[in-house]
Structure formats: C-alpha cells, structure tokens
C-alpha cells in the first residue's frame, strides 16, 4: 500500500500543487506533522496565557490582571480547567505523538509516507475541529466549563450545580473528537511501523523513538475506550437527562472517576514515552555512545505500560472507594518505581564513557532526565496511600505532576524540536539564543514549582482562587511563596518569544543544514534536509542497529544504519 502511494506522490510532484492543497489539504506526513506542531504551539500559547492569568490572581488576589481584567471565581475555575485540558489534550498529545510521530516514523523506518495518508489528513482535520469546539465553549452562554479537567460529576453533569449550561457539553464533545483524531493517528502509526520498515530493519534495529511512539499509541488505544464510553454517558446525563452518574436515580458519581482514571493514568505514559524516545535518540548522538541496554529500555517500557493499567485508583484513595482497595493500588503504584527507575539508570549509564557535547538538544535532553527524576521521586509520597491522605489535592500534587508533565511536554518538545529542526526545515536555529532560552526556561520552571511543593506541604489545597478565607493559609509567608512562583512564571514566559522568533526567523534565514548535521545513524538523517515528497531518492536498506557510535576500527565515530560497510 505504501508503495502504490509512492507512485501517486511522485506523480503529484510533477504538477505544481496549489497553496491550499500544499499546506491545508496535504497527505504528506511531514506537512501533517508541521500542521500538528504549529497548532500545538499555538494552543500551548493559549494554555500558557491561562496559567499566567490564574497565577496572577493567586499572587495578587482580586486585582485586575493586565491583559485579562478581574478574575472571578467562575473565571478562575474555567481557566484552571482548560489550562489542564489544553496542555494535555491539545499540546502534549498533538506535539509529542502526532507531530513527531508523523514526522519521524516514516523517516526513521525508511519509507516514503504513512500507510494511510488520507486517514492521516482526516486525523489532523478532526483535531482542528476539536480545538475549534473547545474555543467555542468560551463563547457560549454561561461561559466555559469550570469543573476541573477531571470533570467529576455531579458537578460536571448538571447546570444547576456548575452554572455553565453549555460549556461542559462542548468541552466533552471537544475531548471526544480529540480522541477520535488520535485513534486514527494511532492506527496509522502502529500499522506503518509494522508494515513499512526498510528491508533489514528487525525489531531491535528500530530506533527507540519509533518504538516509544508505537507503544504509546497502543496504550492510548487500549485505555481510551472506557473514557469515550464514559464521555458519552456524561454527555447523555447533561443533555438527555439520563442518570448514569446521578445518585438520585441510582447512578454512581464514582463510576466516572474509574472510567476517567483508567484512561487518565496510562495517558501519562502515552505522553511520557515519546519524550523518552527523543531523549534516547539525543543522548546517544551527543555522547557518541550506543544506547545502553536497548532491550532493557524496551522491556521496561512495555512493563511500565502494562503496569499503568493497574494503578488508576491511586487518584481516588480518599474518593470514597472501598478503602481496602487502596492497599492493592498502593502496591501496584509503588512498584511502578522499578521500571521507571531502571529506565533512568539505563539512560544515565549511557553517558558512561561517552564524549559528551553540550549542544542545545542535548541540554534539553539532559534537563529532561534531571527534572523528571524530581517528578518521579515525589510520586512516591502520593502513591503511599497513608501519606496521600494529607497530600491529596494539595499543591504538592500540582508540583509533582508538573515535574513530570513539564519535562515531558515542554522540555521533551524543545529537545525534539531543536534536534530535528534542521531536518524539518533544512536550516539551523541560532544556537546562542537557544542556549539563553534554555537556561532561563529551566531556572524559571524550577522557580515556579519548588515553592508549590512547600505550599502543598503547608496544606494549600488546589483550585482555590483566593486563600483569604483560610487563616492557616492566608499568611504572609505562604503568600510570598505564591508570589515567587508567579514571578518565576513571568520570567519563564517572557523568554519564550525569543524561542518563537528564533524558530520562525531561522526557517527562512537560518544557516543551511546538511543532510546529517549531528552525524547520527538513524535513517531520517540519510535523506536530504528537508526531505522531499517521498523522502528518499532510493529507499534505504538497513544493516545494523540505530546506535552504533564509536565502533572500534572505524575512522568515523558514527555508522549509519543504511551504510553497507
């Protein structure tokens, strides 16, 4: 199928494509990847703006926020709800899985395009519609949904409780559409990686980034079903008056929590794995080392993925589930530390004996490891059920999952973008400005979330727009921490335009990139930068694994996968 499409694609190249067809109606996996990337970046700016507004409210309560105005309780709830939803469903997912999955899978496995290019186009279009529906939810009567991104009923189910008659339904429809988009994408990724690999590429010759995106897609497809069912049940409760989650009519609100978190926890690994894949590609290239224990990485990934289906109720320890169940979920949750820690050790061990060059993508990849470790160890406090009684729904939780999601969605994305930018656009970004951007972003990030650990330990509960009603929390010391976090956020946001200008300027004016600027081994570096429609002039054959760096008896310290000798 891929081959027959290749003929189509080449036939198309001969006559000039219109602007619309090239940029909006393309079936080229690289163009779809860029559509996802730019849409994700745009929505990332929206999510960051939400964070700016509610962090300003927390630091300087009830003062008009520049660029927004006065934040009411209803505004605040809508902002935090949609900050979470946007950052996970409309930033992390489209950028990490869809953008990089689309761009990398065909190039890394050495084929000309996805197996289902039109499905791929449809996937992006549905995704775009989902983003528009989400945007529309801000414009309807009553305003956007404000019941937290977890959308627990009965609050999310009844307008008399949430006071937003239309927002929750539009929000749910947007989320359900987004899932459809990623189901289509996932089908494509898995099928392409299974069927279209270059001749000679055996299972253990597949670059880790491809493995990770494929495993993430499988986890997504396996976990999202119950939530789609749940979303429709909730939608029926809202619009048709059913009572799936309504205790007055025999329904059960906690059922939603199970359906949500059965998806919600694997979802963490769905976005984590692609980022781990990028990091594997980058640390091997810039330390000139083989990935240490390739198979261990692969097996621990699969192990983590399987285990992630058995931990969901750790989000619900105190939610009214049978308390005996908490013991089971504490065991599975704490055990997940083993594969994750192993993966961290293996990555760190890869650096051993290397020749490490601190290029910008490497800085981001290393920052991922250093920061993700914080997110990893702080998870143990929450997985230990007894301690979670105190920490549940405090800022400690907020700080913990931002120490996982920020490395994943932001640091992981920056590592991937800076590493593959020359391949995507055929030019280099400015290295100096990228380094400035890197350091200020990393310092700012830690400045935001370290105070939140302390606030959480002090009892600050989440989703409160004004702490003045709580004497224990309305102290000057705690307010200083809140201000510190907000100022750090302002610093971090202020440096992002530097990256954006660099990103767009370099697209047209950056230094031209060669095919293989980092001297890497994987197949995407063996075709021109940027790759033309159809990718490879001659489809490559594979002779070895992806990380054969610094092999003895070779003049070069790299050994491309497709090089016969």
């Amino acid at each position: 199928m891929a081959e027959s499409h290749a003929h189509d694609a080449h036939a198309h190249d001969h006559h000039e494509e219109g602007w619309f067809k090239k940029y909006f109606w393309s079936t080229d996996h690289k163009m779809i990847a860029k559509q996802y990337l730019l849409t994700g970046m745009l929505l990332g700016a929206v999510g960051a703006y939400f964070a700016y507004v509610f962090r300003m409210q927390l630091a300087f309560p009830n003062k008009p926020v520049p660029g927004y105005g006065l934040v009411t309780g209803a505004d605040y709830n809508a902002l935090i709800t949609n900050h979470g939803a946007v950052m996970i469903f409309w930033v992390a997912m489209p950028v990490l899985i869809a953008a990089f999955g689309n761009f990398l899978i065909p190039l890394m496995i050495g084929c000309d395009d996805m197996v289902f290019p039109r499905l791929n186009r449809l996937s992006y279009q549905i995704f775009l519609v989902s983003a528009i529906v989400l945007g529309a939810s801000f414009l309807v009567e009553g305003g956007a949904f404000g019941g937290a991104w977890t959308a627990y009923p009965p609050l999310s189910a009844k307008a008399e409780y949430n006071l937003t008659p239309l927002g929750p339904s539009l929000w749910l429809i947007a989320v359900a559409l987004e899932f459809v988009a990623f189901l289509l994408g996932g089908i494509n990724f898995v099928t392409t990686a299974m069927n279209s690999r270059a001749p000679g590429m055996k299972a253990f010759d597949i670059p880790m980034a491809v493995w990770m995106i494929v495993i993430a897609s499988i986890l997504f497809m396996a976990s999202v079903g119950p939530l789609i069912a749940g979303a429709f049940m909730l939608l029926f409760d809202q619009l048709l008056g059913t009572g799936f989650f309504d205790p007055d009519r025999g329904g059960d609100p906690v059922l939603w929590q199970h359906l949500f978190w059965f998806f919600g926890h694997p979802e963490v690994y769905v976005v984590l794995l692609p980022a781990l894949g990028f990091v594997a590609e980058i640390i091997t290239t810039f330390s000139r080392k083989k990935l240490f224990a390739y198979k261990t990485v692969l097996y621990t990934t699969i192990g983590t993925g399987v285990l992630s289906f058995f931990v969901w109720a750790h989000h619900q320890f105190i939610a009214g589930i049978d308390p005996r169940m908490a013991n089971v979920f504490t065991v599975t949750t704490v055990l997940i530390s083993i594969p994750i820690a192993e993966m961290c050790f293996v990555y760190i061990a890869t650096l051993y004996g290397g020749s490490i060059r601190f290029a910008v993508p490497m800085l981001w990849a290393l920052a991922f490891i250093a920061e993700f470790l914080v997110g990893g160890v702080t998870g143990i406090y929450l997985g230990a059920s007894g301690a979670d009684i105190y920490f549940h729904d405090t800022y400690f939780v907020v700080a913990h999952f931002h120490y996982t999601f920020f490395p994943i969605a932001i640091i992981g994305t920056f590592s991937g973008v800076t590493y593959w930018y020359p391949k995507m656009f055929g030019r280099h970004m400015n290295e100096l400005w990228n380094k400035v951007h890197f350091w200020i972003t990393i310092v700012g990030f830690n400045g935001i979330f370290i105070p939140l650990f302390m606030l959480g330990a002090s009892g600050d509960h989440r989703r409160i727009f004004d702490y003045s009603n709580f004497p224990e929390l309305a102290t000057p010391e705690l307010q200083q921490l809140r201000v510190f976090a907000t100022v750090s956020l302002l610093v971090m946001l202020a440096i992002q335009p530097v990256f954006l200008i660099n990103f767009f300027y370099s697209m047209f004016k950056g230094k031209k990139a060669e095919a293989n600027p980092w001297n890497a081994n994987t197949l995407e570096w063996q075709c021109p930068s940027p790759p033309p429609h159809g990718n490879f002039a001659v489809l490559p054959e594979v002779y070895r694994g992806p990380y054969e760096f610094s092999a003895p008896d070779r003049a070069d310290d790299f050994w491309p996968q497709n090089s016969p000798t």
Binding site: A74, L155, F292, A319, G354, L373, I380, Y390, E472
Partner: protein, 230 residues
Amino acid sequence: MLEHYMIQGSSYASHIDGLVWVVLLITTFWFLLAEGMFFYLLWRYREQPGKKALYINDDLEHAIKYKWVEIPHRLILICDVAVILGAVSVWSEVKLSMPVTDETVRITAQQWAWTFRHAGADGELDTADDIVTVDDLHVQLGKTYKFELAAKDVLHSFSVPVFRLKQDAIPGRVISGWFKPTQAGEFDVQCAEICGIGHGIMPARLYVETPEAHAEWIAHPTHYLAYKNK
C-alpha cells in the same frame, strides 16, 4: 518533615508524618545518588579533543548491566516493600479501622457550606439537645470521634490539615471515619474537592476545646444555628 509545616493535631498525625519521613529518606537517597552520578558522568565524560567514546559490546554490556540495573533493581524493590508496609499500616489505622469512639458527629457538605450536627450534652445524636452549626465544628480534646460524612449536591471533601484527615463526601452515601484531637486550638477545615464557583469560599472552623471549655460551649453554644429537632 510535615510537622514543620503543619501542627500535629490528631492521634494519627504523627504516624502519617512518620511515613512521610520514611519516604523522604528513601527518595532523597535515590535522588541524590542518581543526580550525583548523572552530573559526575556529565563532567567526567565531557567532550575532550582526541578522546573517542567507549564502544560497549554485548559482553561488556552484560557485565555493566548487572551493576547498573540489576543491583539497583533489587535495592529499589526492598525500598518499595518498606514504603508499601508503611503506607498500608498507616492507611489501615486511619481509614480501615474504627476504634471505640466516644461520640459521633454528623457532617453534611453542600454548595458551599458545612453543617455539623453535634451530639450535645447527652452525647447521643438525634436527640433533642443536638447542636447543629454551620461552618463551626466543636470537639473536645482527647475524645475519639466518629464522623458520618454526606453531601447534598456535588462531591466535596472534608479536609482538616492539622488532623492529616481528608475524605471525599459523595451525594447518596454516608462515609464514616474517625479522629481523635490531641491539640487544643482553632484550626481550618477545607473543602478539598472542586465543588463549583464557591469552592474557594467553603471554609469552616474547627474548635478543639478542653473538657471545661467544651462543656461551657455545650451549655451556651455560640454560632448556634436555630434548629428544630424532628
């Protein structure tokens, strides 16, 4: 660690804080080890002119893997068992067991207020001398209380940081638990589950009183909500 941030106000607060100490020690050890090794390797194996990276063949990898993966794997398993045992024992004490209690207090959450039904002078609920208050919970130091938690509309969460106690309230159910105050004073009660636009204005006050002060309050309840018993 938590005791530096928040007073220990109940019989099990110190046990939860002890568990946090166990987790803190274990995670700090692994965190410092991993970060220390990480930054050491970055410095030790930085790019140097004329120095080629090490090529790890399968035999070498196998040997190193034992040291880098399998030994840590086992050690982490041991640490996990310690964390799990601590977590389960504290959890069982707070959430699974129900000690002999002296009195019961009924807590009802709604958008956006707490109603507390105290037993009054006779120590029995659902009698004529019950004291019903809104947003004020009065308990006696050293007595063991059972609570019965319900919600009228949406999910709420009864959270008392000084007690280290948190429990979601679910409409249609009554969830029981217990606490034993060990520290007199006036403390925050929070709603810790988002419950609508008034979630941030749903505080209550907890008054832990000495037996004399508590008896005085029962005799002359301030903040008393006029309530006709059925």
